[in-house]
Symmetry: C2
Subunit: 577 residues, 2 copies
Amino acid sequence: MENQLLTAGAGETQPEKKHQKSVVVYDCRPGSSAAPPRTFDISNADFTSFLQALVREFSLSNDETFVISTTDRKEIDQELYKELVHGKTLQLMTSVNQELPVATQERIDYLPHYHTLVQCGMYEYYASEGQKALPYAFAELIDNALSATRRNTDIRRIEIRLLFDEAQGGPAVVVMDNGCGMTSKQLNNWAVYRLSKFIRENSTFQSEEAGYVQPDPVPRSLNSDISYFGVGGKQAVFYIGQSVRMISKPASSPDVHEFIMSKDDFERKERNKEDIYSGFIRNRKPGDCSHVDKSEEMFLQSIMREEIGKESFTAVVITGIQQEHINYLKQHFILWTRELAHTYHYYIHGVDGNVKNEMKKTESSSNIDIQISLFERSTRVPRIINLREVDNDMQTLYVRSSANTFEFKATGAKDSLVEGLIRYHPFLYDRETFPVDPYAASAEDEDEELEVLNPEGRGKRPIFECFWNGRLIPYTTVSEFPWCERPKKGGIVPLECYNRISGVLFANDRFQVSTNKLTFMDLELQLRDKDTIFNNGQGQRVNIEKEFTNWLKTCHESFDKQVMFQGYISNVTRTDV
Amino acid sequence: MENQLLTAGAGETQPEKKHQKSVVVYDCRPGSSAAPPRTFDISNADFTSFLQALVREFSLSNDETFVISTTDRKEIDQELYKELVHGKTLQLMTSVNQELPVATQERIDYLPHYHTLVQCGMYEYYASEGQKALPYAFAELIDNALSATRRNTDIRRIEIRLLFDEAQGGPAVVVMDNGCGMTSKQLNNWAVYRLSKFIRENSTFQSEEAGYVQPDPVPRSLNSDISYFGVGGKQAVFYIGQSVRMISKPASSPDVHEFIMSKDDFERKERNKEDIYSGFIRNRKPGDCSHVDKSEEMFLQSIMREEIGKESFTAVVITGIQQEHINYLKQHFILWTRELAHTYHYYIHGVDGNVKNEMKKTESSSNIDIQISLFERSTRVPRIINLREVDNDMQTLYVRSSANTFEFKATGAKDSLVEGLIRYHPFLYDRETFPVDPYAASAEDEDEELEVLNPEGRGKRPIFECFWNGRLIPYTTVSEFPWCERPKKGGIVPLECYNRISGVLFANDRFQVSTNKLTFMDLELQLRDKDTIFNNGQGQRVNIEKEFTNWLKTCHESFDKQVMFQGYISNVTRTDV
Ligand SMILES: Nc1ncnc2c1ncn2[C@@H]1O[C@H](COP(=O)(O)OP(=O)(O)OP(=O)(O)O)[C@@H](O)[C@H]1O
Ligand SMILES: Nc1ncnc2c1ncn2[C@@H]1O[C@H](COP(=O)(O)OP(=O)(O)OP(=O)(O)O)[C@@H](O)[C@H]1O
Ligand SMILES: [Mg+2]
Ligand SMILES: [Mg+2]
C-alpha cells in the first residue's frame, strides 16, 4: 500500500494533465432556461462523437438544426474543432447570429506577458534624461547590496566588476556583496515582480513567518533600507542586459542557490507553451561549477571558485549586455563612477560627508566599501576605483568648500521627517567659492549660458539636492523654502549671500519616490504643507527664518573676505622689475 | 462509451487536482550518486508513512540515521510536514548541515504579483510633475478610443463622463467610444499586461491569425495608431480608481462582452489561494443588466440601456475613484479639459489646427468628437464641454496669433520621420503677439519671473512642442536646432525676431516614447544625429538654415509693425479734452 507514495515520473512535478482537453457548453437556444453549462471532456473525441454527445446531453431532437460556436460567434466546424483549447466556452445555438437569451461566462487567463520583466527597465530609466541612465541602473543593484549588508559587523564590501574580456567569456557585469545572501525561498521571492518587502513571506512555512520590521530612525536616514517596490533589481538587470544569474548563499545554510532568468528562456518557454513563470533554483556546494559551460563563461568559474569560505554573499551576474552600454561604461568611466560616488556620498563617507580633516573622518567613518573594476583584456591592468577615493563629486565639493553649516529639521504627518542642512560657501578675496561642476561644461557644451555660473555663486540653480533613506534621488531638487529664499529687497544681509549657499535634504521613506528612484513624488508639496514644522534641529520650535538670517549674517561677517576697490587713486609704475 | 465525454463538475474548468500533493526527494547522503530524484505522492500519507516510504525507496538500513530537509536546510518534522506544499523539493541527508555531494534542483514559480497591475499607474504618471498627472491618465483612455474609432466612416464619438452623483451609485468615471469594440478574445488580450499589438494573437484560432499592420504614412502622423506597450489602459484605470468594468461589443457579434478587474478581486483571490490571473468574461445581449446590483450602481443600468442599437462600442467604467482625484476633476475642470484639448489639438481640429477662418475649417475638418461631462447632482445641470470648443489651449493660441508658417521635414534611419513647422508671431505696434499661457501664472504663482515673459516674446523657452503619432508628448520639448537658433551676433535678421517663433514637431512612431507617454526617449538625440536630413518639406534637399533665415527676414519685413519713437520733440498739451 505504501508503495503507492512513489509516483511514476521522477524529478519534475509538472502538471500531469497536459493532454486533458475539456470544453464548457452553454445551451443558448431561444427559450432555454438559465441552466448551468455542461463540461465535455473531448481529449479523445473526434468532431462527430462530440456532436453526438451534444445531441444526447441537450436532448436535441433528430430534425433540430443547431450550431455550436465560440463566444466570438465563430461556428465550430471540423477544422476549428481541432484547434479548440482546454477550457474553452462554447454556445449551442439554433443559428450563429441568434440573440443570447441568457448570459454565458467564459473563464479567461491573463497572465502578464513576460515583457513585464524583460522590458521593465527599458522605458523607465531612460525616460527623458537619456545619457545618465546607466549609473542609476547600477544604483538599484547597489541599493540591494546596501540592504543586504546592513547587519554586517565587519566591512560591507560591494563590488561591481565589468568583465569585458571576450577571451574570458565576457562581456558581463557582476555585482557582488558580502551581505546576508538569500535562502532559496528568498531567491524565489526576488524573482516575483512587484513583491515588495511589505507583503512578502520569507519562509516556506507560515509558522515561521516574520514580517517586515521598520528600522529605527538614524541620522540622515542612513538606514540602508533602500528597497520599496520589488522591482529595482529586475528593472536594472534587464536595462543593462538580457540575462541574469543570481548566485547567493545565506549564512543559515551551507549551500549556494542559483537562479537564471533570461529573455531567451522566456522566449523558449513561450514557443514550447511551457509555464512562463516557472524555473529551477539550483542548490549546490560552494565552488561547484560543474554545471557551467567550460568554454563559454570562464569568468563564471573564477567567480564560483571565490565562493569557498564565504559565510554569505550574493553575486548578480548579468550577460547579454548591450553594446552601447559597454561603450558608455568604458568611455565615461570617470563620469559614471563619480555619479555613483555622489549618489551614495553619505553612505560612503558617513554623516559628515567627505570632509578633508582626517581626524574627523575616522570617528564617524563608514564601513562601506564600494569598488568598481573594469577588465578589458587579460593583458591589461584592470581599471579599479573605490568610490571612497572620488573627491570631485558635487557633494564632496560642497562639503569641502563650505565654511559653516546650518542644520534644520522638518516634520510632518505620519512620521515624515526631513533633516536638512545649508552650507555657506564664502567669497574669498577675488572670487566666489561656490563650487562649479567640473563636468557640467563637457556634458552640456552646447549651452554657453551654463558655463559661467561661478561668478555669481549658485546663480539660479536650486539650493537643495535630495536624498531618500540616505541615497540621492537625482532628478528631484528643491529650489528653496520661503524662509531661506532671497528677499525681494535687501535686509540685514547683502543679497549676494543668498547665492553662496548650497543645501541637502535627507528625507525618510515616509516620502514617496517613483519606481525607478529617480524622482520624489511629492517631497516639495508635502514640505510646503502648512502642517509641516521646521525647526533648527535641536528639537526647538524656533522662528527658522530669523535663525537662518542670523546665521547667514554671521557667515557673511566671519567668512567673506571681500577685497574692495574703494576708490581709484593713481597708477603706480613699478621701477623695480 | 460516449457518455464519458460529459465530465462531472459542470461550469468551471478549474484545475481538478486541488488536493494532490507530492514532493520531490533527492538522495543527498555523502557518496550518493547523481541519481534523479524521486517523487512521492503524499496527499494521503501522514509523516510516519512518508518516512517509511523513504526508507524503502532509498533502501535505508534500519540503523541508519537520516534527516529530511528543505532546500533551505530546515529539517522536516511532524509539524512542518503538514505545511509542505505541492511540488516542494526535499533533501535526504545524514545530517542537516552536511555538504551537498551533488546539486539539487527545485522548481519554483514566480508569477508577477498583482500589484503589477494594481499599482502600475501609481508611481508612473505621478513622477515629478504631480499636479497634472490626471489628464494624462485620461489621455491613455482617449488614445485607445482614437485607435478603436480609426476606421469609423461616420463621426468618431468619444465621451468621458464623470458620474459623481452618489445617489446614482457614483462616483465613477466612464470613457465610451463608438469604435470597433473588442471580441471576447480581444477583451482577454486587453487584460494581459505588456501584451503589445506587435505580439498579439487576435483570434482564438491560429488558422485565422492576422498580425499587426503598420498604417500608411499620413500628414502629421495623425494615424490614430496610438498604442505601443500594452500597458496604457490598465495604468490609467488603476491610477484613477481601484476597479474597472470593461464593456465592449464588436461589430462581428450580436453580444456584449464584459470583464471586471479590481483590486478587491485580486485581494480576494490571493486570500483564497485562487489563480490570481483568472477571471470570467460575461457574454450577454445588449441592454441586459440583470447581473448588476440594482441599488448600488444605478448609473450602470442606464449605460447598459444605451447599448441597444449600437453596432459596436466600448465603455470603460472605473469605480473606486480616489477622493483627491474627484476634488481635482471638479475644481480644475477648465484646466484639465484644456490640457486634453491641447494634447489632441490636431486630431480635433485637423492638420491645420484650430484656425479662425471658418471656410478653411470645413475643408480639412475632423470627424472626431471628444466630449466631457461632469455630473454632480441629478438636480444640477451637468457641466459639458466638447474639446473642439476650447479655444485657449496653447496650440490654438499659437495657431491664431501666427502670421506665417515655415514647414520642414527631418528624415533619419529606419523610416523615422519628423514633420516640423515654425510659426511667426509678429510684433504689432506696441507689443509682441507671441502668446502667453493664460494659466501659467495661476499654476506657478509663486514664481514671479515667469509672468512677465510676453514683453520679450518667447524668452528663453524652448521653441518646439512635440507630438507622437499626432498627440502631444507633454514633458518633452526641443529648444531649437542649430539652423534656427538665435545667432551669437546679428545677421540679416534682427535678433529679437528669433523670439517671435513657436514650433511644433510631429514625430512618427519610429521615435520611442516612455511607457507613460509623457516623454520621448531620444527624439532630440536622434535629431542631432548627423545622418538626419532636414529639408523644407517639399522633398528638396535645401540649405535649411538659409531658407529659414530668409523666411524669418520676410516675416519681419512683412508682418512686424514697429512703432518707433525716433526722437523726442516736445510735450503736446491737448486742450480739446
Ligand atoms: N544583493 C542582495 N542580497 C540579498 N538579497 C537581495 C539582494 N538583491 C535583492 N535581494 C532580495 O530581492 C528582493 C527584490 O529585489 P529588487 O531590487 O528587485 O526589489 P526591492 O529591492 O524589494 O524593491 P525596489 O523595487 O525598491 O528595488 C529584495 O527585496 C531582497 O529581499
Ligand atoms: N476603447 C477600446 N476599444 C477597442 N479596443 C480597445 C479599447 N481600449 C483598449 N483596447 C484594446 O486593448 C489593448 C490594450 O490596451 P492598453 O491601452 O492597455 O494597451 P495598448 O493600447 O495596447 O498599449 P499602450 O501601453 O501604448 O497604451 C489595445 O491595444 C486594444 O487592442
Ligand atoms: Mg531593490
Ligand atoms: Mg493604450
